[in-house]
Subunit: 229 residues, 2 copies
Amino acid sequence: MAHPKYSMKQIAKTIDHSLLKPEMTRDEVKTGCEIAKKYDVASVCCKPADVKFCADLLKGTDVEIGTVVGFPHGSSTTETKVFETKQAVADGATEIDVVLNIGLLKSGLNQQVQDDIAAVVKAAGDKTVKVILENAYLTEAEKVTACKLTEAAGAHYVKTSTGYAPTGATIADIKLMRSSVSPKMKIKSAGGVRTLDALIEYLDAGISRSGATTTAIMIDEYVERFGRD
Amino acid sequence: MAHPKYSMKQIAKTIDHSLLKPEMTRDEVKTGCEIAKKYDVASVCCKPADVKFCADLLKGTDVEIGTVVGFPHGSSTTETKVFETKQAVADGATEIDVVLNIGLLKSGLNQQVQDDIAAVVKAAGDKTVKVILENAYLTEAEKVTACKLTEAAGAHYVKTSTGYAPTGATIADIKLMRSSVSPKMKIKSAGGVRTLDALIEYLDAGISRSGATTTAIMIDEYVERFGRD
């Protein structure tokens, strides 16, 4: 029996298949691209130094090439984030996940935080920009502020986490973020969404994308339980 | 009674006072700089976006301004690492701690790893370059290879860890690294050297520098046990 709300394609196109582990070899990145292609996910999210490599492997597919900027600490200068963004786009990236400057946010230097994001949005041109708040380090008020600064800076997504902080996505945070941005802004969960049931719960809460490493397991389970589209 | 081997000054000048936590506010960074100044440590190791701020605070002192490049994953492109290095130096950094490309090392792409480091060394000009191997992710053979590539690339230090991987410095790794580079190369420990006794043990094993957050505790203990120089 089909799933009442989400088709297999819709589930797959929610997934940014994560290839970010620092210790991943090129062979493992290649395998990751093959999984992304086989399951026709939304994108791979790869290391900046692997963008060209992944773009070559995924040429002609319907899988976007995502990468990260200022990752995972967000502590690079704005100029370095801009440089990294431009190079990522030149190398073939179509989606940019940038970490905001967490320290400046927690210092109350909101305009600097917004300007930092806006510079990356500008550098990305027509590409999608997702801004990672890294909720693990933020108070509830800081999460709300970060959402508002991200929207004001012109980015397309707010994203919960890098997956490399002490905590990752929570449903409570998705609800808070959803209520802190306008309806045109999208939300990406990351860090800890590892099962199909969890992914569906996050979709119900309002995400458009989720970072995942367990892509094959989740989509295989979908097919087993609900069949192919 | 004085310590038989290490003066207080020598201990202090071993310490790179770490101000790298992504969530550190500017007020906390300022306090960190005051500690670095009070205890006259070797350097602060600050976030790239804080280099100017720290350089202003430490002007006229004997404390070096260190920062990080491609930190903590080492997955940025060489071009981004070079850009980040040049900007750090322009902002006032005198020491650069760069993470090597862990994924390329583990893929056996040794020449690319060496070239990546060499490009940063060149961009740093006359500044000190420390190369973080991030031993947590490496086999014994990879640690040795990384030491040799670092020396061939012209860097000044091999450094054990970022402090943000599952494991940090070990005495066994210091011994392995010491035996894998020539005597002119220096070694920096980081991640987990938190007590005076540990720091002395690492000095005995051959380090020249250690990253630390417990700077005040360690030097206060030195004074209590061994007196001031």
